[in-house]
């Protein structure tokens, strides 16, 4: 492949046009397709990164080059052509519409169903906003509140420049570059993402990113997030958006690293609603995510996720329970419909003494979809008195979908207590008729039953997120029963 100079790149960019689905019609700067060391360097340069960061990316690239895409997940898809993708695109957001009347009514109807406010709708659809209600000013106010407590919350690109010592110290410590194929790729080319640091003993006064999530839409296909909770601190972090996200990028490979130092707690909640493809299974997003948290002594990490989108999802938020008495939790709802395929689960690695983990997984499959839970509970030889409780429930709708459970347990310490429960149920015609008889139509009945089934997990979400997530479940399953 011939080398591109900056000038060549610029030339190429002029001719490229982007269509960002629901989002702003991006006038973006785009790199040519393909990946090599020069592209990695160019990305780093574009972002004005220090040399150590460039080197770190290159190291990741060299590792990635020799790796093979994993085959073992219970999903089938056409492998992306990694040389056919452009690895850099800087969104240059400019409003797409002057008024909300110009926006696709179908999209607005979906927003309404989700209960998204008009202001938020405008932002999401890319409608020009009044200065007063513009999210930027809101964001600034909250940033100031956070800054007073010493909380750092900014994009990872900014953090690399402004807090290099923190980024350098922690990036790749939980998810090393060589961890897996997608993590290596992400490490080489990550576009942007969030960075968050909570100082010692500070309780973050708000759900982080509640007020920012809109702005974070479109951070790109290789998102990188790093959250550090210093000793004795607490933070609740929300990621994602219930609004439908369309993206022309088929491949998404994010990395999230959480570091919970002694006596700290991180709650990380995700609602993922990427475009799942149409009813025939065409065109959805491939979502290959590596999420992992490290718990030091007495620390606690909870992952809560609601996954309704993507054509193919491959995702295992995990906890490394390194410190004694540390706690890991995983609460998950994964919905698949039509031709979606999801292979999700968690890994709980017990290294410290008296470590405890809880796994609650709720899989809901409809249409012709396949929904797999894959979980590993590993008890190290030195992890005295480790305890795990796992519960995996599957709910099936119709006869053409599948639910699969793959629990792996490796216990190398005899004092371990491990409990695993699994159930599979079907939405019964009798349940539906019972609801119908009370005036509840079938669509609503299914939503009710599904929400009931998912309740233990929905309860773990921050209040406002939970309401949206519930509606999202409803919408995701619309039309799934004839």
């Amino acid at each position: 492949m011939s080398k591109y100079t900056e000038d060549d790149l610029r030339e190429e960019l002029k001719t490229k046009e982007y269509e960002y689905g629901f989002y702003t019609d991006i006038e973006s700067e785009t790199f040519p397709n393909g990946l090599n060391e020069d592209i990695v360097k160019a990305i780093s340069k574009k972002k004005e990164e220090p040399e150590w960061m460039t080197e770190w990316r290159l190291e990741a690239f060299r590792i990635w080059k020799d790796m093979e895409e994993p085959e073992w997940a219970n999903v089938n898809y056409e492998k992306p052509d990694f040389q056919g993708i452009s690895y850099y695109s800087a969104p240059n957001s400019k409003p797409k519409y002057d008024s909300i009347d110009e926006v696709d009514p179908e999209l607005l109807a979906t927003f309404d169903k989700l209960g998204i406010s008009l202001d938020e709708q405008k932002k999401l659809a890319g409608v020009a906003m009044d200065v007063v209600v513009d999210s930027v000013s809101v964001a600034t106010t909250f940033k100031e509140t956070l800054a007073e407590q010493g909380i750092i919350f900014m994009s990872i690109s900014e953090a690399i420049k402004e807090h290099p010592e923190l980024v350098k110290k922690y990036i790749g410590t939980v998810v090393p570059q060589k961890d897996n194929f997608y993590a290596a790729l992400n490490s080489a080319v990550f576009s942007d993402g969030s960075f968050c640091y909570i100082p010692k003993g500070v309780r973050c006064p708000m759900e982080l990113s509640t007020y920012f999530r809109i702005n974070q839409a479109g951070t790109g296909q290789f998102e990188r997030t790093l959250v550090i909770a210093d000793e004795g601190s607490y933070v609740s972090y929300l990621e994602g958006c219930t609004a439908p996200s369309r993206d022309e990028n088929q491949l998404h490979a994010a990395v999230v690293e959480l570091i919970a130092l002694d006596d700290s707690e991180i709650k990380y909640s995700t609602v993922q609603n990427w475009f799942p493809g149409n009813a025939e299974g065409k065109g959805g997003v491939f979502n290959f995510v590596t999420k992992r948290g490290l718990c030091e002594t007495n620390a606690k990490i909870s992952w809560t996720q609601v996954e309704t989108g993507s054509a193919v999802t491959w995702k295992y938020p995990s906890c490394v329970l390194k410190g004694n008495n540390s706690v890991g939790e995983f609460y998950s709802i994964a919905v698949t419909n039509n031709y979606q395929q999801a292979d999700t689960g968690t890994k709980m690695i017990h290294l410290g003494k008296n470590t405890k983990s809880t796994i609650i997984s709720k899989g809901i499959s409809a249409g012709k979809s396949q929904n797999s839970y894959r979980g590993l509970v590993q008890i190290n030889s030195r992890a005295e008195n480790a305890r795990n409780f796992s519960q995996c429930d599957s709910l099936l709708m119709g006869n053409e979908c599948g639910a699969h459970t793959f629990p792996y347990i490796e216990a190398k310490n005899q004092t371990a207590q491990i409990e695993h429960e699994a159930t599979t149920s079907k939405i019964g015609e009798d349940q539906i008729f019972y609801c119908n008889q009370r005036g509840i139509d079938t669509e609503k009945a299914i939503a009710l039953i599904v929400n009931g089934f998912s309740k233990e997990v929905l309860n773990k979400l921050p209040m406002e997120f939970a309401v949206e997530a519930q509606k999202l479940l409803e919408i995701s399953l619309e039309g799934s029963v004839g």
Binding site: G428, E429, D430, Q431, F433, Y434, C435, N436, Q437, R438, G439, I440, D441, T442, K444, L448, I449, N451, G452, F453, S454, K455, E456
Partner: protein
């Protein structure tokens, strides 16, 4: 209010109801009795619109309208209520949430706004007091782990909340202890008015001492083979069904 004429219904190749005629007027209480498997629950399901059953002949007219083409929820919106013989469990959905959804969906169908939370709360208080239901009970998952009697009482609580025009109580008495039977029957009586009607399906005279029927019908082999007044129920209690079967066979 309800007029059923020559109703034939069944599943695939099996006919279960074989020509039912029944007329229920506002303010009336009808009791339907009959041996196991005679088609009582099937009749209630068919009236309520369960799609599993195919109506091959005859019609069901509710308030002057043929409801044959209406979906179950549309019939419910029109005021038909069925207290199930075997209420279904819905894990994770509280009684309160379920009833609230049912009320608001019915209101929506009528073009009304959701019931304000304040009114909903008041209604729940009033009706749970009427049926002597512990408020804590209402936060439990619908029918999950309920005792037989609790399930039935919960059915009547829902009926009280929804205030239907026509209530069909399919063996609501079975599973209720003596005190509960009295409470539930009292509840039903308090909700009775000259504008609504009740069809009580039961095997036992006992319930009919509380909810006194205007008519008693005996269903046998998919047909109403005998109708009478409340005395007929006493007679059945005493003599069983054989004499009726004999009558039919003659």
């Amino acid at each position: 209010m309800l007029k059923i004429e020559n109703l034939h219904a069944g599943v695939e190749d099996k006919s279960i109801l074989k020509g039912i005629n029944l007329e229920v007027k506002p303010g009336e209480v009808h009791a339907i009795m009959g041996p196991n498997g005679s088609g009582k629950s099937t009749l209630s399901s068919v009236i309520a619109g369960k799609e599993e059953y195919e109506v091959s002949e005859g019609n069901i007219v509710f308030e002057g309208e043929d409801i044959e083409e209406l979906a179950a929820e549309e019939r419910a919106h029109k005021g038909i209520f069925l207290s199930f013989q075997y209420p279904v469990e819905i894990p994770g959905v509280s009684v309160t949430n379920f009833v609230k959804t049912a009320i608001n969906e019915t209101r929506k169908a009528k073009g009304l706004e959701d019931m304000p939370a304040k009114d909903m709360l008041k209604l729940i208080r009033e009706k749970s007091d009427l049926l002597e239901i512990d408020r804590k009970f209402l936060s439990r998952s619908l029918n999950e782990g309920f005792s037989g009697g609790e399930k039935k009482r919960n059915e009547i609580f829902q009926m009280a909340m929804l205030e239907p025009k026509l209530a069909i109580l399919d063996e609501t008495d079975s599973g209720l202890d003596i005190d509960a039977l009295r409470i539930v029957a009292n509840g039903v009586n308090k909700l009775k008015s000259k504008d609504n009607a009740v069809i009580v399906i039961t095997h036992y005279q006992r319930l009919l001492d509380y909810i006194v029927p205007d008519f008693v019908h005996v269903l046998h082999n998919g047909k109403i083979v005998k109708s009478g007044t409340k005395e007929l129920a006493h007679e059945l209690e005493e003599k069983g069904y054989d004499w009726i079967k004999d009558e039919v066979n003659v």
